[in-house]
Assembly symmetry: C2
Homo-oligomer: 195 residues x 2
Amino acid sequence: MSDKYHHGDLRNALLEAVGEIIQERGIGAVSLREAARRAGVSHSAPAHHFGDKRGMLTAFAGRGFEEFGQRMQVAADEVAEEGFQAQLGAIGIEYLRFAVERRPYFEVMFRSEMHDNTDPDLKTISHDSFGVLMSVVEAMGPEELGGAEPMHVAMGAWSTVHGLATLWLDGALSQFTDEDLFTLVQGVFDARNAS
Amino acid sequence: MSDKYHHGDLRNALLEAVGEIIQERGIGAVSLREAARRAGVSHSAPAHHFGDKRGMLTAFAGRGFEEFGQRMQVAADEVAEEGFQAQLGAIGIEYLRFAVERRPYFEVMFRSEMHDNTDPDLKTISHDSFGVLMSVVEAMGPEELGGAEPMHVAMGAWSTVHGLATLWLDGALSQFTDEDLFTLVQGVFDARNAS
DNA sequence: CTGTCAACTTGACGCCGTCAAGATACCTGA
DNA sequence: TCAGGTATCTTGACGGCGTCAAGTTGACAG
């Protein structure tokens, strides 16, 4: 399969390569030609599968959102019996865990200039991811919400973990280790519930 | 001055050009050569002032943090007599306002691969910006903090507004208008204080 | 076996960042 | 005043990049 003229699974191989490149050399090092090189094909083979660079990263982001959405759903389901606050906490922790463990996906997913955020498939799947959080909040009663709008509670939770994730990935929290990040988010959650 | 061999103020002109490029064509369109073109100099003139592309964006980020820190300080000072919660709110609003109004700066400031975040000057000035928020939180008494760690409260506030800002800039909140963004953050703050 | 079509290659174009070498203007000091 | 040095900017080159056009290969249906 490796020395065939037709690769057989080039599309997947290229997306795998994109992940490796980001992991090894950062998001700035991603190129169609480097991905092609790693997949063992010619420099313009990727264009036939993705159109252009943006198309390739859009497909990559789609893959990321797929795994992301599943992990959010699993995290929420696992603690469903422990109440809504536990679910929000679990989603938040899993959000950060995804950002750290799957950094290549996360970076492309939330960098609008990297992909085509008007792509219908991408819009659908990214919207679904947010739906996991939103459905938890919408299931909460007025007493759990403290009388606040569900949307405001959801956006507050989402913004906080997203902010922590991006600040950490951008090195703004270099004072903290990986370990610290999770004790930090727990502390932030606790501080919030306390006030 | 415009047709002199020596530009006279090239460094500033280039940084201005960078801002224009990002505003007009996005952060992906920034290049040393385009900045040079807009400043009316040859393609490799920028290298003499900034070393390389990363150096130019590091200087640009430094400019951004300078304005950013001043605005945070002014925002905190203006409502100093209204209490700590008012100060936190004012800082948060100003944070978002800066992200929206000065998007070119904000994007480069918080994209680690764009600049050199080991640069001593940049580290100092970005650390000072966070100091504005930190000093407000540290001035709060245990009753205002609800018994929580000051660092946790500060990180919670910072993460939330930073998350909102980046999500908005990345188009993840395309459902909301500019106007909505500020009513949204107010709603998020209110929802938090209510619970 | 043959025609068709998708998958991939080859080669070219202009833009990019970077480097080396050269040209120009300012500026100090005698 | 002017000579030399230095900072500033130009010119030209290199390889890597994204993209496009045209050609080649191989699978597969009839």
